[in-house]
Symmetry: C2
Subunit: 294 residues, 2 copies
C-alpha cells in the first residue's frame, strides 16, 4: 500500500464522481457532480479538488476514467479529449488539458471501462490476473481489456459492445443501435430490453422470456471475448447484471455454445464468468487505480 493521496474522476455520462483516496480503504473525500455543460461540470470538479487539497494535502497524481469515445494516443493533438460523443456540448472536450492547467498534476487518462477493470484487477474480482475483461451492460455495452498485464488500447480503444453476434433463433427484434441496428449493444443493452419488451427491464419478472434471450446474447458475447482475448476471467457489471438469475443462465449458455473448445471449463465457470467485487465503487476506484499507474 501507499501513503500517497491520489485524485480521481470517474467521468460518466450523467455524473462525474470525484474522489480523493490512497486506495479502497483510504477514501478521504468524494463528491458526485452532475454532467451539464463542460464549463460548469469541470469547474465544479476543480473546486472540489482544491478544497480537498486544502484539507488533506497534495495529491501525487490525477486519474481520469472517462466515457467515450476518447483520444488515448499520446502523440495526438487531441490526446485527452472526449471526441465524437453524441452527448450535446461535450464533443471535443479537452479533459486532460483542463485539469493539467488548473491542478498542475501528472494525469493518467483512460476509458471508464479500462479504469474499472484496473480497479477490479488490483482490489476486486480479478486480483492478481494478467489477462481479464470487464464488461458493463447498462445503457450501453462497453469492455475494458487487460492482456498480458497491459490495458489494451490499440489504434483507439476497444468498442467490443458493438460486435456482431448470431440471432437467438427466431428473434425478429431489429435492434436499437443507431449505427448497426442489431449489433450486441443494439440487442442486449438496457435500452434494447426496454424497447423489445415495452417496459422498464427492472419490472420484468424472473423467469420471463426476456432473460433467456438476454443470457443467450451475453453468453455469445462471452464466447467471442474468450476466443479473441484469451482472458483468465470475464467480469460482467452494469445495471442489467443486477438481475441475479442472469449470471448462472449466462454461464450455462456459454458452456453449451463453446462446447469444450477451450478445455473443460465446467469446474471453473464460477470464477471464469463473474460479477465485480467493488460494486458501485469500481468506477471511482478505477480512476484512483489509473492515477497510481507507473
Amino acid at each position: 500500500m501507499t501513503d500517497k493521496l491520489y485524485a480521481g474522476i470517474d467521468a460518466g455520462g450523467t455524473e462525474f464522481k470525484c474522489i480523493v483516496a490512497g486506495g479502497p480503504d483510504q477514501v478521504r473525500a468524494h463528491q458526485k457532480i452532475p454532467v451539464t455543460y463542460p464549463e460548469a461540470t469541470l469547474v465544479a470538479c476543480r473546486d472540489f479538488f482544491l478544497r480537498a487539497q486544502a484539507e488533506h494535502g497534495d495529491f501525487a497524481a490525477l486519474g481520469i476514467a472517462s466515457f467515450g469515445p476518447v483520444d488515448l494516443r499520446r502523440d495526438s493533438p487531441t490526446y485527452g479529449f472526449i471526441t465524437s460523443t453524441p452527448k450535446p456540448h461535450w464533443v471535443d472536450t479537452d479533459l486532460v488539458g483542463y485539469f493539467e492547467q488548473v491542478l498542475g498534476l501528472p494525469i493518467h487518462f483512460d476509458t471508464d471501462v479500462n479504469g474499472a477493470l484496473l480497479a477490479e484487477q488490483r482490489w476486486g474480482a480479478a486480483q492478481g490476473l494478467h489477462s481479464a475483461v470487464y464488461v458493463t451492460i447498462g445503457t450501453g455495452i462497453g469492455a475494458g481489456v487487460m492482456v498480458d498485464g497491459n490495458l489494451l488500447h490499440g489504434a483507439m480503444h476497444p468498442e467490443a459492445g458493438h460486435m456482431l453476434v448470431p440471432r437467438y433463433p427466431g428473434d425478429p427484434f431489429p435492434g436499437v443501435c443507431p449505427y448497426h441496428g442489431g449489433c450486441l449493444e443494439g440487442l442486449a443493452a438496457g435500452p434494447a430490453l426496454q424497447q423489445r419488451w415495452q417496459q422498464n427491464p427492472k419490472a420484468l419478472p424472473d423467469g420471463h422470456a426476456a432473460w433467456e434471450l438476454q443470457a443467450h446474447y451475453l453468453a455469445m458475447m462471452c464466447m467471442n471475448l474468450a476466443l479473441t482475448y484469451s482472458p483468465q476471467r470475464i467480469v460482467l457489471g452494469g445495471g442489467v447484471m443486477e438481475r441475479a438469475e442472469l449470471l448462472p443462465m449466462i454461464r450455462r449458455a456459454y458452456l453449451a455454445q463453446i462446447n469444450g473448445y477451450l478445455g473443460d471449463q465446467k469446474a471453473v465457470m464460477e470464477s471464469f464468468i463473474t460479477t465485480p467485487g467493488l460494486g458501485s465503487m469500481a468506477g471511482a476506484l478505477g480512476a484512483i487505480a489509473l492515477a497510481q499507474s507507473p
Copy 2:
C-alpha cells in the same frame, strides 16, 4: 539489420519449413520436411540445422512458429508443447524441449499466426505499426494479434477463428466445425466452402454466389476484429484469399456493416484491410522474426 544468423521452423500441419537466415534478404538455407511421426519429423529438422550450422556457422537463436493449440505459458510444465491437436501422433509433443536438447540454443516459441504477423510487421504489409491483426483463411481460420507493440497471448492464445457471427440472411448451411457447427471457421474456412458448394473452391468461378457469402462472413469477422482489438490494420492471408475478387468485396461489405462507427474509413480501406506482403515466405520469416525477438 543484423549480421547474426538465426534458425527458424514454420511448424505447419502438413510440413515443417526449416530456415536459416539473417532476415528476408539473407536466407542461407531452407528445407521443407513432411509431417509424419514426431520422431521422424523432428530428427530431420535437427539434421538440417546441424548441416546448415557446419556450413554457415552458429545461430544466435531458434524461432518456432507452430500450429496449435500450443502451450505458451512459460511457467507451465508443458510450455513449448503442441497440446490437444486433432492431428494423430502429435498430441503433447514437446517441441521446445526437443530442440533445446539437440541444438542448445535460446528458443522463441509462438503460434504460426503470431509469427506470420510479426514478420509482416517487421518486413511486410504491417511495417512500423503497433497494433495489427493477421488472419489466415485456409483449412482453418486463425488470427495472430499485436496490440500496443506486443504479441497478444493471454491465458492461452487467441482462437478468434471460432468466433460467432450472424448468418448471411437465409443461409441454411449448418457449418462444419466439429465443436460449433456454424462458427466463423465452420462457415467460411476452406473445408466449409468445399462442403457447402460440393466442389473444390478453386473451381468456383468469379461472380459465383459463394464469394458473396464468403465476403459477408469475412467482413463481419473484420468488423468484430476491428471492434475488439482496435488494430491499425487487418492483414488477410491463407489459401482462400488467393481469390483476387474477394478482397474488394470484403472491404465493401465491411464499410456497409460498420456504418461509419469507427470514423470515415472509406479513404483508408485499402490499407486497413489488406493482404500479406511476404507471400509464401511469411511463415518461415515469422519463425526468424520470433528468433530475433528480445
